[in-house]
């Protein structure tokens, strides 16, 4: 069996990521462990968005809302002394999935420009809701009382352990995502994106499938939020700010939308870029802005296409 460039790229990427903690330990640079862990968390968020954006064609500009919900689903229980990780992360997934169900049920009745604006508006609504939660810090946010507890060998306060938990979740998400997009369900979503009129004409009612995909993506985004809260040990409504949604979207595009693995690269590259640029000047956004415009105009296919060859994206 020939091994495609794509598989090779994935294995190589996975191996590299797995090697970061030992290398960081050897070179005594714990900063890199932290950095890559952060990148992987955003990669999880980006992959979850790719499901609906790249494969489903749903331009949801409010995906950061689920990160926020997930983060507060960890932070609020922790504030009240509940630090059971299973409970918190389960709540994160459930709450964001529920929010996605409600938001999707309303938003998916529209399409095009309206859909984008509505998802944006709903996310902003949640942002303002977060700001109004005085008990939990309001717009200043709050410190996380303590990282999620899982018992046994899984102690998230150990940097390397937390790192491998994140890596495992990323790998799991990519595996499940891969199966999902190739499954019957995935085919409907992709067909609806390709030609919705045609999909309807053969007998698919796209709304129910799109909503399901929306909920799945929302839940996964919530998990990313739970991880992010643990990572930064601080949560603020800014997690849900619409500019964060834009950032995640960019990761998907930069990496290559509709490839699942591309967004991982996109997350890594964008966060690296932001890191590098912000070291150069506090006004780094004035450089990032035009870069993003240029990427959109000229490099739409994304980086994954460059790395793994032309046959990365079908249907």
């Amino acid at each position: 069996m020939a091994i495609s460039r794509r598989t090779l790229a994935l294995v190589a990427g996975g191996a590299l990521l797995a090697l970061v903690p030992p290398i960081a330990a050897l070179t005594n640079q714990p900063f890199y462990l932290d950095l890559f862990r952060r990148m992987m968390i955003f990669a999880i968020a980006a992959v979850s968005l790719d499901l609906i954006l790249g494969y489903g064609g749903m331009v949801s500009f409010g995906h950061a809302a689920y990160l926020g919900i997930g983060a507060y689903a960890v932070g609020i229980p922790a504030f009240h002394g509940v630090d059971n990780g299973w409970l918190q992360w389960g709540l994160a997934i459930a709450a964001s999935a529920l929010a996605a169900a409600v938001i999707g049920a309303v938003s998916l009745r529209t399409s095009g420009v309206s859909f984008i604006m509505i998802t944006l508006a709903f996310a902003q609504m949640l942002y303002y809701l977060g700001i109004s939660l005085e008990t939990y810090g309001g717009d200043n946010g709050m410190r996380l009382a303590g990282r999620s507890r899982f018992g046994g060998p899984i102690d998230l306060r150990e940097p390397a352990v937390f790192y491998y938990v994140v890596l495992a979740i990323l790998v799991l998400l990519l595996t499940l995502g891969n199966r999902l997009v190739a499954s019957r369900f995935g085919m409907v979503i992709r067909a609806a994106r390709s030609n919705e009129v045609r999909a309807r004409a053969i007998g698919f009612s796209p709304f129910r499938y799109k909503l399901t995909a929306f909920v799945i993506a929302g839940g996964a985004g919530g998990l990313a939020g739970a991880l992010l809260a643990n990572q930064t040990e601080y949560l603020t409504p800014d997690f849900m700010h619409w500019t964060r949604s834009g950032e995640i979207m960019f990761m998907v595009i930069l990496g290559g939308m509709g490839t699942l693995f591309g967004p991982v690269i996109g997350a890594v590259v964008l966060l690296l870029l932001e890191d590098v640029l912000s070291a150069l000047t506090t006004h780094w956004q004035i450089i990032l802005g035009p870069i993003l415009i240029l990427v959109v105009l000229f490099a739409k296919r994304g980086l994954f296409g460059l790395v793994a060859g032309a046959e990365t994206r079908d249907g």
Partner: protein, 250 residues
């Protein structure tokens, strides 16, 4: 009276001040091939749209297989057995021909909330899809990207997709539009083969195709059906002649 599969009563539709469908009555019997012809602007596309479920009529009713489908949307009608092809070819361009038809098979089979098994690995979807492609003559092109198929092949693909849903009736909107002589003759021969097995309603401008295929023809002018009958009846009708020649003089 033959078993009526499609019954249209009093179908009317306005667009602003324009009356696109004017109290249309029409019956199509099971197994019949019924052609709808008429000059441009006669409202044929609007009629097709209302039959397919893309447009809501302002008044009137459409009964399909004995059931009132007037309020049903396109996917529901497709699931009831009404398959269609489009005037401007509408397929899933980024998928292979086989994928396109397999999607139609899947739509018909239901059960699309499956999240794990790869759809491309399911014989229950692939086999019937292959068969449908063979039937329309595209068997050898199964793995070609739909966007790369020739125009005529793409229209054949649409027919294959329609057939894959095991429909009771085919609604064909100008099936040979844009085809060269060879291709359109091939398509007409194929449709002629289908005639006995399945009810067909088609809109066409190509008169050769119409008179070869149709059991009965309805002539539409300004949103109304002015004549319905066998090909010879329609050819001999004064009303029809006036409508067509009258159009030229106006």
């Amino acid at each position: 009276m033959a078993d009526t599969l499609l019954a249209i009563r009093g179908l009317s539709k306005h667009f602003g001040g324009l009356l696109a469908s004017d109290r249309i009555d029409l019956d199509v019997a099971r197994g019949e091939t019924h052609a709808i012809i008429g000059p441009n602007g006669a409202g044929k596309t609007t009629l097709i749209g209302q039959l397919a479920g893309d447009l809501r009529p302002d008044s009137g009713s459409i009964h399909f297989a004995g059931q009132d489908v007037t309020r049903l949307d396109a996917p529901h009608r497709a699931r009831r057995g009404l398959a269609r092809s489009f005037q401007v070819t509408s397929i899933f361009r980024e998928f292979s021909a086989l994928d396109n038809v397999a999607l139609a098979v899947q739509a018909h089979a239901g059960r699309s909330f499956r999240f794990w098994r790869s759809a491309r690995s399911e014989p229950a979807l692939r086999e019937p899809a292959r068969a449908a492609l063979e039937a329309v003559g595209l068997g050898a092109r199964a793995d070609v990207l739909a966007a790369r198929l020739a125009h005529g092949e793409q229209r054949q693909l649409e027919i294959a997709m329609a057939l894959a849903t095991e429909p009771r009736m085919l609604l064909l909107d100008e099936p040979v539009a844009g085809m060269g002589l060879d291709e359109s003759q091939k398509m007409v021969r194929f449709l002629a083969m289908l005639r006995r097995r399945i009810t067909i309603v088609l809109v066409e401008h190509d008169m050769d195709a119409v008179f070869t295929l149709a059991d009965r023809i309805s002539v539409m002018v300004y949103g109304r059906i002015i004549a319905t009958g066998t090909p010879s009846e329609v050819r001999g009708s004064d009303d029809v002649r006036r409508a067509y020649l009258g159009e030229d003089r106006a």
